[in-house]
Symmetry: C2
Subunit: 198 residues, 2 copies
């Protein structure tokens, strides 16, 4: 994977202090309410240094969560194309990321989130603000249903990752990606755009 | 919940030795291949003592996994009734168990399984032999598809438990049980009896 930015890594101790402050801020207040300014104050550095080291608030958040991939690089391909194919495209992209070298970092993040309330909050914020919101904003469905739709998608996809990569239940663990796309894709599609209640 | 048996608990050290041997045997060989005789030999006790303390191989396995509920007590109600309602009934029962006091033990088991390969194997065996097999045996579908169907059901249900009780993503975490039955039930139904590929 290409490096995300040409920024120099900077002083490791300062970076670590900023990341620790960012984790606390994002876990306590959530992504939307946390600010670069507050993170900088907690780390006792100038806000400009946070921007210098990490770029935008989104980039700081991805670094704080230790997200192995940037959803902004992956979601455009999922969202492009016909509305009825979004479920399959989302599952295809999700499976490809988890089957890639980034998947090991995903498993580590999942392990941490399951064992640690703080990481669980960060993962929740990551899913909500960096993944689900970006997808749901593109769908022409009743806004009141969006949180439930997003949550249902999350249940199916996280369950797929857990069973394929952590519990390693067969035949899910060894299934061809396209088998999962064909079987799980329609579920995700229904959660995103279908009738939720018969 | 009623006590499962009138047996006395027996010598704690002996019980623990049997349980440790059982965990190893079930994780290494799987539920079907592990035998009470081999467990007894590894624990250096008479097989009759294993039966005396734990009853059947199924009961020994449930104790070894620390399963908070016995699927044999819950599944008859799921399997009774019309075939088209099995998905909703399974989700209703699953949500009720996880929302009950037994749910805390389920979360503990899940945490352990995510962090520990040995427990992951036991959970895999539990899902396969104690839950999924019992459900799938009742369905009139192509036997070749049964493992995939069972695995897909597991992805959706475990993902639901993780999101509701561990990551606690809203609105899944606080959703009314019947909302989950109405939205996730059709997914489970399709995985069990529907066309898997469009």
């Amino acid at each position: 994977m290409a490096r995300r930015s040409g920024r120099r890594p900077g002083n490791p101790a300062t970076r670590d202090a900023i990341l620790a402050a960012a984790r606390t801020a994002f876990a306590e207040r959530g992504f939307d309410a946390a600010t670069i300014r507050a993170v900088a104050a907690a780390a006792e550095v100038d806000p400009a240094l946070v921007h210098h080291y990490f770029g935008s608030k989104e980039q700081l958040f991805l670094a704080a969560v230790q997200a192995p991939v940037d959803p902004r690089e992956l979601l455009p391909a999922v969202l492009a194309g016909d509305r009825d194919g979004i479920g399959e495209r989302l599952v295809r992209t999700f499976v490809a990321v988890w089957d890639s070298p980034a998947g090991a970092a995903g498993v580590a993040l999942l392990r941490s989130a399951v064992g640690n309330e703080w990481t669980a909050r960060l993962v929740r914020e990551f899913l909500t603000t960096q993944v689900l919101r970006r997808i749901l904003d593109h769908l022409d469905v009743d806004p009141a249903q969006l949180p439930l739709r997003g949550g249902l998608v999350a249940t199916q996809l996280i369950g797929l990752a857990v069973m394929r990569h952590v519990i390693r239940l067969e035949p899910i663990a060894s299934a061809e990606p396209e088998t999962l796309v064909a079987t799980v894709g329609p579920t995700v599609q229904r959660y995103l755009t279908g009738e939720l209640v018969d």
